[in-house]
């Protein structure tokens, strides 16, 4: 009997949860009024309004009227930005320094791996609620990446921090191929790559293998025309993945900090004609800022925003690169810096002289563009996804708080009285 009661109450609870989920799925029609709006792509609008309808930004400007049934939010004195995007994150993949799910340490070349198969959708201990906490600080999208333990780590994904499953969250997959220069753990096992030239060889070999795979596929297609019984080449998941790089279908993101590794990354990109190269970290990228600008290489700066030159003088990495004409993104490398502190990463660059508008672009439109999702996210424009953050002041000020966050027009966070 007791069991039946439990079962019934369990069912009732389940029904309640489903009902709530369904209610949450109804996109709100919301008119946010009288705010300072950083559109990112269209300047900053004072005392203006945004109308959200069907999960999209319907209208934006000084004179916007909503339908009678719209929820009206008075945002006077508040500041609105697009939902923040972290260009390089390991959220939901376990604690750095602990056991993580982003480094398949059995083989230095694993392009066939897909980061979405490792991500926990709400966060793992010791920070189980990391997704929720990140949204509460205005982060609405991350580019989740394999770690840097392998030379070719696997395929990255852009995902929104809203949805019950990873599949619901993904907005771009594969977003790019993650690679990593520098020393790897394989040296200790006496396995390739022991050296940096070994690292470069792993990439070169994978690219050449992919070329041969492409050729064999083409040969097969040609033969098939005359001989319908020809046996197709065996599917090879590694080569299939690298073929996307070879065919310039996806960009390449390479972890590198030291100048030698940066130069190797650029050399490989030239050699194999990568479609859009971005560097992760780029600690010493300031030494070759002009070269990177000329080559159109994007640098994703962080978690170290501030680096030091040989005389230990401070170098504001994002600013030096931006000054030289390099497109910058800013990252937390979560959880090296916790995901929710993304805006303070940008604030650090502003603190030491980066133009705040450029800093905001580096955590909104620039990462959106990096993975080709700029048609949906990264700025506040009619027709784009209604991912936006209402702050009670300067978004970079530590004392400012997030008042409300929308993803796809749905409220995913709202500050309660007493929240810090």
């Amino acid at each position: 009997m007791e069991r039946i009661t439990k079962l019934i109450s369990g069912l009732a609870l389940g029904a309640l949860v489903i009902a709530n989920l369904a209610a949450g799925d109804t996109a709100e029609t919301v008119l946010i009024r009288s705010a300072t709006i950083h559109t990112v792509t269209g300047g900053t609008l004072l005392d203006s309004s945004i109308l959200i309808r069907d999960g999209k930004i319907a209208e934006i400007g000084p004179e916007v009227n909503g339908p009678d049934d719209a929820e009206v939010i008075d945002a006077s004195g508040k500041v609105i930005t697009p939902g923040l995007i972290d260009s390089h994150s390991h959220l939901g993949l376990g604690p750095s320094g602990g056991t993580t799910e982003d480094n398949e340490g059995s083989d230095p070349s694993t392009p066939q791996l897909r980061i979405i198969d490792s991500i926990h959708p709400t966060g793992m201990a010791p920070h189980e609620n990391s997704f929720r906490d990140s949204v509460a600080e205005g982060v609405t999208t991350i580019i989740a990446r394999p770690g840097s333990g392998n030379v070719i780590g696997g395929q990255s994904a852009a995902l929104k921090l809203s949805g019950g499953t990873v599949d619901e969250m993904v907005i771009k997959f594969p977003a790019d191929m993650k690679m990593a220069m520098g020393k790897k753990g394989y040296g200790a096992k006496g396995q390739l790559p022991v050296t940096r030239m070994g690292v470069a060889y792993v990439v070169r070999k994978a690219m050449v293998d992919a070329m041969e795979y492409r050729d064999s596929l083409e040969r097969y297609e040609r033969k098939k025309e005359s001989d319908p019984d020809v046996v197709p080449p065996k599917r090879d998941l590694k080569n299939e993945a690298m073929l996307k790089v070879l065919n310039r279908e996806i960009p390449v993101h390479i972890h590198c900090s030291r100048i030698d590794d940066i130069l190797t990354a650029v050399r490989l990109a030239d050699e194999f004609n990568f479609f859009r190269l971005s560097l992760g970290h780029g600690t010493e990228a300031w030494k070759v800022a002009d070269l990177l600008a000329r080559k159109g290489v994007v640098v994703v700066v962080g978690p170290a925003m501030i680096v030091y030159d040989e005389d230990n003088n401070l170098v504001n990495l994002a600013k030096v690169l931006d000054d030289a004409g390099v497109e910058i993104n800013i990252m937390t490398d979560a959880d090296v810096v916790q995901q929710e502190f993304l805006r303070y990463q940008a604030a650090t660059a502003v603190r030491y002289g980066l133009d705040p508008e450029k800093a905001l672009a580096a955590i909104t439109i620039n990462p959106a563009r990096l993975v080709g999702a700029e048609d949906r996210i990264g700025s506040l424009e009619p027709g784009k996804d209604a991912d936006l953050v209402i702050f009670d002041g300067d978004p970079f000020d530590i004392q400012s708080s997030v008042s409300r966050v929308f993803i796809d027009g749905k409220t995913v966070y709202e500050k309660e009285q007493g929240d810090k």
Partner: protein, 428 residues
């Protein structure tokens, strides 16, 4: 040899040149030689007293001699114009292994050959040329309490250093400055891996208890010997035990016990040991301290709060909160703040921003500034020298471009003992 000959040849020219130069150099040399320096017309946050808008500070022989709305400028004094700037005591970083390692590399602050290494002195691990010392200085930090890390239950002896000098002796302000303990994951992980005591939290408490009981016996023998000696009786002095000596000083009330602990159970263990051995205790870390504010306050135990959750979390820090500092201060606990994440606004070189996070969490801004200056100095027993701007104290001063806890304000000039040790380059 060659260079000496050259010098002789040029001596006459040089002398004349030198005389001319003297006129120009003297005012600048003033500060180099410990001559008078005046910081004029700044927003002077004395910390110990009133804040003086448009305030001035007179520095003579490396020491603050006057603070007020105006000071007499001695002849030849260097005058630093601080109009629109904020002038603060040099910031104090607490409980850090700063200067004992190179960045991310393994620090030298954990002698993990045994869980009790009370005999270790952090000063022996200190590299005065460590890059981090200059970085800290550039951010306005002029002193730090450096201590062994968190891997050993009893790590060794801490020290308070100034961010200047070529030798440890020049840097040291107070050494030793107490004994560093650590409870929780640090020792448990370190020795658990080796299957050695302590592999549990109760094992950690036992290591402390055993060491303090043995130190008590050692102290009793020492006292017994002194008594006999004073009475003129014949007595053998007990053999010096480098490990028990610093612990005996704790039992005798001559030294401070610094307990690094994060979880509520570890914090309680630290306080249980404090009660049991009547220790003068300071807690470090204290991630879950907000759950025990009354217990900590009732024992009059100061707390050095940090980290603030910007960097990777451990199991024992998963429930940390930026409200801890504010809640503890509200309960009457003396609170200092440290920052020692590797990156981000919680990093070693962004101490004021970590204090700003505490303000966001509810700490009063004045308390937050005190937490990284005078309160820290009081906790380490060096408040007679540093921590506030008042006559007689060392002229360790930082001039900020604006309100020090605002993210756009940075240290523009840093003085230690009246000498400028950092000056921000002009914007191009």
């Amino acid at each position: 040899m060659n260079s000496r000959n050259k010098f002789r040849e040029n001596r006459v020219t040089l002398s004349i040149f030198a005389v001319c130069l003297l006129f120009f150099i003297l005012p600048v040399m003033g500060s180099e030689d410990g001559g008078a320096v005046v910081i004029a017309n700044g927003m002077v946050i004395t910390v110990s007293g009133d804040t003086i808008e448009g305030g001035c500070i007179l520095i003579e022989d490396g020491v603050i001699s006057e603070v007020g709305p105006s000071v007499e400028v001695p002849e030849g004094a260097e005058v630093i114009d601080a109009t629109d700037k904020w002038v603060l005591p040099g910031l104090i970083q607490s409980a850090t292994d700063l200067g004992t390692g190179e960045g991310y590399a393994d620090a030298n602050a954990d002698e993990t050959s045994s869980p009790n290494t009370a005999e270790m002195q952090i000063t022996d691990a200190l590299n005065p040329f460590d890059k981090d010392i200059k970085k800290a200085r550039m951010s306005g930090v002029t002193a730090a309490m450096v201590s062994p890390g968190r891997k050993n239950v009893i790590g060794g002896q801490a020290a308070v250093i100034k961010m200047r000098g070529k030798t440890v002796e020049e840097m040291a302000l107070k050494a030793p400055a107490g004994v560093k303990f650590s409870l929780g994951e640090g020792p448990k992980d370190t020795y658990g891996e080796k299957k050695q005591l302590p592999t549990t939290r109760m094992g950690e408490a036992y290591v402390v208890r055993k060491a303090l009981i043995e130190a008590g016996e050692y102290l009793a023998k020492q006292k017994d010997y002194m008594k006999k000696k004073e009475a003129g009786e014949e007595a053998e002095p007990p053999a010096i035990d480098l490990s028990k000596d610093p612990l005996a000083a704790l039992l005798d009330g001559r030294s401070t016990a610094f307990f690094e602990c994060y979880r509520v159970d570890d914090i309680m263990t630290a306080m249980r040991l404090t009660d049991e051995f009547k220790l003068k205790t300071v807690l470090i870390g204290c991630a879950e301290g907000y759950k025990l504010a009354e217990e900590i306050a009732s024992r009059n135990i100061p707390v050095i709060v940090g980290a603030f959750g910007i960097g990777p979390r451990r199991m024992e820090t998963q429930y940390l909160s930026i409200e801890t500092a504010g809640i503890l201060a509200g309960a009457g606990v003396k609170v200092a703040i440290k920052s020692d994440e590797v990156y981000g606004v919680g990093s070693l070189s962004e101490l004021p921003l970590t204090a700003a996070l505490a303000v966001k969490g509810g700490l009063e801004p004045e308390e937050a500034i005190r937490a990284i200056t005078l309160t820290a100095a009081e906790i380490f027993g060096v408040d007679d020298r540093i921590g506030s701007l008042e006559p007689g104290k060392d002229a360790d001063i930082v001039i900020f471009s604006g309100a020090p806890l605002h993210y756009l304000s940075v240290a523009e000039r840093v003085l230690i003992d009246g000498k400028t040790v950092f000056e921000k380059a002009e914007e191009e």
